[in-house]
Every structure is written in C-alpha cells, then in structure tokens.
Chain length 423, copies 2
C-alpha cells in the first residue's frame, strides 16, 4: 500500500467517544499497511466557544491574536487523537501547522498556503508513527506568525499535505456519506455520486454544494490528488473526486453530475444606467473597491426610447450592505436612477461536463422549472453549468423538479444525512 492522508472534521471528533472512534479508523488504515497522516479540525463547538470568549474581551476580534486563539482548538483535538491512538498500541505524534511545514502568506484569518515543507511529517511516518496534523493553521513565511486558513481550511491542509507528501489519496471524512446529486435534505431521492471529475466538483462547490470547499478541490486538481469524501460514522465507500475514474469507480451520470442550490446570496439591481461605454466598469469598480465578491452578472437589453438599461448582480447576503453603500457613494460618478436590493432569492445550478455535447440540456432545465411553475429571474451559464435565480420560496420544489427531469432520482430513499459540518 502507500501513503494516505485522512482528514476528520469537527463533528467527527466532537467528544471523547468521537475521538476514540476516529482513532480506531486511523489504526485500521495503518494496519492495512499504509503510512497514515491525519489532519484534524477542532472538536465540535470549540471554535465557536473561542470566538465567543474573544468577543467578550474585544468587540471585533481579528488579526494575529485571533489566529493565535483559534489555533488552540486543533491543538487540543490533535493531542487527544494522538493519545487515543497510542492507547490502542500504535505510535502517534501530533504536529502544529507550523511544525508540519504549512507555510502561508501573512493574511491573518484567511491565509493562503504558499508552500508545504513536510520534513518532520516524513521523518515521523518513516519512523513508523501515525502523524497527526492540526488543520486550518499554518505559519507565515514572513514574521513566522501563526495564521489560519479561513472556513474549510482543514480540507485544504489535508489536500496540500497529500500533495507535498505525494499521497495516493486524500480521504475527507465528514458527517455525510459523500457528494450527492442534490442536497439530500431537500431531495429525498438524491443519490450518492460514486465518482465525479474535479471540474464538475468545482462547479458544484461554486454553486452551493457544501461538502467540499472550492479552494480545496482547486488545490487537489492542481496537484492531481484524488479525494475520497466519506462518512466517519458509516464507514461506507463515499465519493471519489479525481481527473479520471479508476478501477470500479462508477460513472453513472455521463451528462449531469448534480443539482446544487444556494440561498445565501442576494440580488442587487442598478436601475436606469445610461447605456454607454464605461458604465458597467464604473459600477463593478466601485463594488471591487469595497472588497465585495460578486457572482452572477446580467445586463438587460437597453430600452431604445430612454437609452437606459438595468444591471443586476448577485452577491453574498453578508456583503449586501457594503455593496449598497459603495454604489450610493459612487452614484454621482456612475449616474443611475435607483438601487433595488432583494435577499429573497435562490440560485439553482445544473452541473455536468456532458452538457457541452448535449444541446438539449438548457432547454430541458428551463422546461422542468416551467412545468413546476417556477419563474426565472436571471440566467448565467458556463461550459458545464447552467444557473438560474428564482424566488427563495420556490427553491426546494425547483431542485426536486430538475433532479427528477434529468433522471437523477434514485429508486429508493437512500440518502442519509447526519447534520452538522466541520470546518
């Protein structure tokens, strides 16, 4: 066998029982003849408790000290996991992000990994140990300060270590059985995907699927590290994410991988924009200067009678206030009639590389929505994705209708969901 990197989220190590269960699973992988490197998140609610403490002493905790605080969480879980493994008669050593060689830039609270130098990890596993590494954290190249990677950072730690160690696979253990053709909480007949390409997984992640974060999949694709997403509770085979299916990995849905939805966005419409060169640029420059990330953008056909047009875009609800303020400030420069802000929207996306060569997909998507009585407000497409914005109230019905229309429904209600997410 080879080298396996396993990552366990906070819900998998939420208490002593969880840690002992994970320890058994790790030891099993070692007994199977693998070298094993384990990345852990903080236990269950630890991070929230630390944030709560921080807010009690400082109104807006941030920066270097906030990272120093939060990284205590993984330190606790990794040390406990190492102890639990030793208690099963195997040798284990835990390493902080810094000790593991996770080198990042200096942007505290959302640092990016710029290099991984896993010399100590390599030595440890070559000596026969199971190496436990703190997820979510690193050390800055300049200043040697402790940094954190932001939401979903532990998955990225795992993939980055897998790449640096040339691992055979990066196993992401979570509280669901894998990646599904739709959110199983919405679509009872959603199916677990056996294999999915990096490309399709990236689109799903960008479209609201929460099992894997976009950044982590991007990293895995760049270094061609197969990811196996699976449940730490059930022990079942999960979803493989890679360039090409291997061995017995089934590719059931050649055309469509799945349906994703996202209710975390809002829609801003800039009404009455003069239809002349530079107007759109001025709007989105104002937004960008406010450090707001936007998603879909649509410009209406301008009305010939007025020479005015409307521009709509979507963005995370959390950044709505910032965007509106930025546009109001730039109103004199841009010149528009009014702003409309709508946070009662949902985005529904159909993802699949097969749609490149299947011209009927777009039509089928719109027909399914129409048959379900769902009105489309915006449309945006990529080569392997179609997204629409609808009313938030319609989202569940719309997702189910599309899921059924593209033949994704399973024969049984197989979807199993456990609730809770790691970081």
């Amino acid at each position: 066998m080879g080298l396996v990197v396993q990552k366990y989220g906070g819900s998998s190590v939420a208490d002593a029982e969880g840690i002992k269960r994970v320890a058994k699973r790790v030891v099993d992988a070692k007994k199977n003849g693998n070298q094993v490197v384990v990345v852990v998140s903080a236990m269950g609610d630890t991070t929230d408790e630390l944030i709560d403490l921080a807010e009690q002493v400082s109104p807006m905790p941030t920066g270097r000290e906030f990272d120093m605080l939060l990284t205590a969480g993984e330190r606790i879980s990794m040390a406990l996991l190492a102890m639990a493994i030793k208690n099963l008669g195997h040798e284990a050593q835990s390493f902080t992000g810094s000790q593991a060689g996770v080198i990042t830039d200096s942007v505290h609270n959302k640092a990016r990994i710029i290099d991984v130098t896993p010399g100590r990890i390599r030595t440890s596993i070559d000596e026969g140990n199971i190496a436990i590494v703190a997820g979510f954290q690193g050390v800055s190249q300049e200043g040697k300060n402790i940094t954190t990677l932001g939401r979903g950072g532990s998955d990225t730690t795992a993939v980055a270590l897998a790449a640096a160690l040339d691992a055979e696979v990066c196993e992401i253990y979570t509280d669901v059985d894998g990646v599904f053709t739709a959110d199983p909480r919405v679509v009872k007949k959603a199916k677990k995907i056996d294999w999915i390409s990096f490309e399709d997984m990236l689109e799903l992640a960008a479209s609201g699927s929460k099992v894997l974060l976009h950044r982590c999949v991007e990293y895995a694709r760049r270094y061609n590290i197969p990811i196996h997403v699976r449940s730490s509770f059930s022990g079942l085979r999960g979803t493989w994410v890679s360039n090409e299916p291997q061995g017995d990995q089934q590719v059931e849905h050649a055309i469509i991988s799945g349906v994703a939805h996202d209710v975390s966005e809002a829609k801003v419409t800039v009404v009455g924009v003069p239809d002349k060169p530079g107007e759109a640029a001025a709007i989105f420059r104002a937004i960008a200067n406010a450090e707001v990330n936007i998603d879909m953008v649509v410009q209406n056909v301008s009305a010939a009678s007025t020479g005015l047009t409307d521009i709509s875009f979507t963005l995370p609800k959390a950044e709505g206030r910032k965007a509106i303020d930025a546009l109001e400030r730039a109103r004199g420069v841009i010149g528009f009639d009014s702003l409309r802000y709508d946070d009662q929207i949902a985005k529904i996306s159909l993802v699949g590389a097969g749609m490149k060569t299947n011209p009927g997909v777009t039509a089928g998507f719109f027909e399914a929505l129409s048959d379900a009585g769902v009105n489309i407000e915006l449309i945006s497409t990529s080569e392997i994705r179609i997204s629409v914005v609808t009313r938030a109230d319609d989202v569940n019905e719309a997702v189910r209708a599309v899921h059924t229309a593209f033949g994704l429904d399973s024969d049984s209600d197989e979807a199993v969901v456990y609730g809770g997410t790691g970081r």
Copy 2:
C-alpha cells in the same frame, strides 16, 4: 523606567472580566513608561478540563502529546489578553513558549529551562508592543518538541524571561497580597512581609509556603532578579524578594521571617535496623532507586542492648506507597524488623537568617510548642531554619503559638486571602 516582567496566574485570568482587569493593569504599567512583558497561565479551570478530556481517551495521559494538549490552555489566555489590551488602544503581541525562545530539556511534563533566547520578545517590545508570553511551556532543544515545565511553571517562565531580558523586576501577580509571616488562613494575625531575602524565601518555599515555588526563587536568586509578589485584585504593594532591601522596603523582622507549615508529608519509620556501617546507605539507595524524594531524615540513638536502631524520614504522601514497596523489596538486603507508615503528621518550620546569630531561637521555638501542649516527633535544622514534625491535629495551634512567641503577630487582623491558586 525600565523593563518589567509581569506574571498573572490562572485565577487572575479566570474569565473575560478577569482578562479585562489584567489588561488594564498591564496598560497602566506601560503608561508609566515601562517596557512590559507579560507571562500568563491558562484560564482558571482550563487545565483541569483538558486533563479530564485526556483521561477520557487515555487512562494515563503523559509525555509529548499531553504537553501538546496542555499548552493549548496558555495559548487561549495569552491571545485573549493581547486582544483585550489592543481593545484599550495599545499594541500587543502574544508568543508561545517556543516563539519566546524558552528552550528546555526533553523531559515532557516536567521539563527544565536550559536557555532563553528572547530575540522575538526583544524586537516586539522595542517596536513598542506589549509582549504576552505563554507561561508553563517551552520547546525542547533536541527534537523541537513542545514541553511543559510542571507545577508552578509559569512563575519560572516569568523569572527566566526577566533574567534573559535583564528586567528590573519580575512581578508575580497572584490571588493573595504577598508573602505572609504565616498562612493567613491559619493565623489571622499573620502580617504581610514587606521584604524578604532569597535565602529565607527559599526555606519558606521548601517548608510548605505555597505563594512562590522553590524552583522559581532559586532561578531568581541565581540571576539576581528581584521578585515582587502582589495581588492582581487589590493593587496593593506586596512582598519584595531580593538579595538586599532597596529604598523604602522595610525589614521588620530581623531575626525571623516567618512560620511555614506543611501537611502534605508522611513519615516512614524503619524499625530495628542493625547499627552498622552501610545500613542507612542501603535504605536510602532503595528509596532513591524508586525515584522518591525524601525530606527530613532522623536516626535514633541505637539501643546498646540490642545493637538496633530506628531510622525515620518524611516524604510526600503521594509517594508513600512507592517508598514502602521499595523498602519491602529490599528487606532481605537491608535487614530490619518492620516498617511504620504515618500520614497524620505535620511539619512546622521557623525560618529566618537572624537565627544564625541568635542562639535563643531554638529554645524559644521548643518552649512555645511545649507551652501549647504540642509534642515534637522529629527535629531537623539548617542554618536559617528549624523544622519539627508534630501530629497533624496540632498543626494550627502550633503555628499560632510559634507565630505569637516570636512577636510576628500584627496588631490588627489585616490578613486578606482570596482563595484559589494559579499554576
């Protein structure tokens, strides 16, 4: 002004309110024109909670991983304190033991500091920051593993940093007002000591006084760092510990510094030991091989009729079982009649450099005990200390009687005690 190292124990930073109170005190020291380095312990019960977690996953948590776990505690308190200070408008940076250059040997759970290389701390304070350092922890010279210093380790961190940074003073903030002439919980009329020499403080610490640990005082004496022990609650001036009194430090009790007592020891008597060369050596070799630390040792005058003698010694109760087992195993080699184990004893010690030149002290000590009806079981003396072992039941009365006899009682019931101890 100069450079001040302040240390705050776990009870001083037990919750957000405590951390904010400490932050104010730290900022005050900075406003007074000092460079300030702060050493903190883990918050209140954090360490106990971590130990409890460890025991849930491993029956006897120990070694490298246990240190990794426990050091999360100071990481939390130091980051929160830095945030609280920044929230008061001052710059602060927190540093782990490793980042602060606290280099130790490789003995996990009770490592000893072998060097301090505080380059990052120096840079940080020279840039105008308040530097916060995690107490109780370091990094091993070989292997670069995280270590902890054992009980009272944070005090030692503070003194060692003060020495390495050539600080003017090491302020140890605690939950009592300073060092008292006796334990104020026992002697209501105990007085706070204004100044005490390193030597007397060392004897008090070795005799049961818990305010400062022996190791920390020893370190301060070696590098001649004045310690100021004071309350983080009252803000009152506390007790200065140094080579010589400075300025207005009062030396009230020229002869006697204080009375200490200790009920944590037990007494072992080896009965019927042949009175010939090598017997005592055999006994204490057996004890030493079991890694038991002993305190007082007394050999009775042997009875001429039998040629047998008794040897008694005291040791921590926690090590009683180990010592008895070791002696029983060596019984064949040593040759003795029986062993007696007695854990209902107390040690009472009178400490003061003045007794070197005052021959009446020993007599006065024994008279005071006699007048109080307290029986003496063992006696042991050093140049500046007399210790006796009595029944545990007699300890409070004995301490009060000696305190009064040597004129240590204050005129008022001034002693203030807050309860709880840091680590």
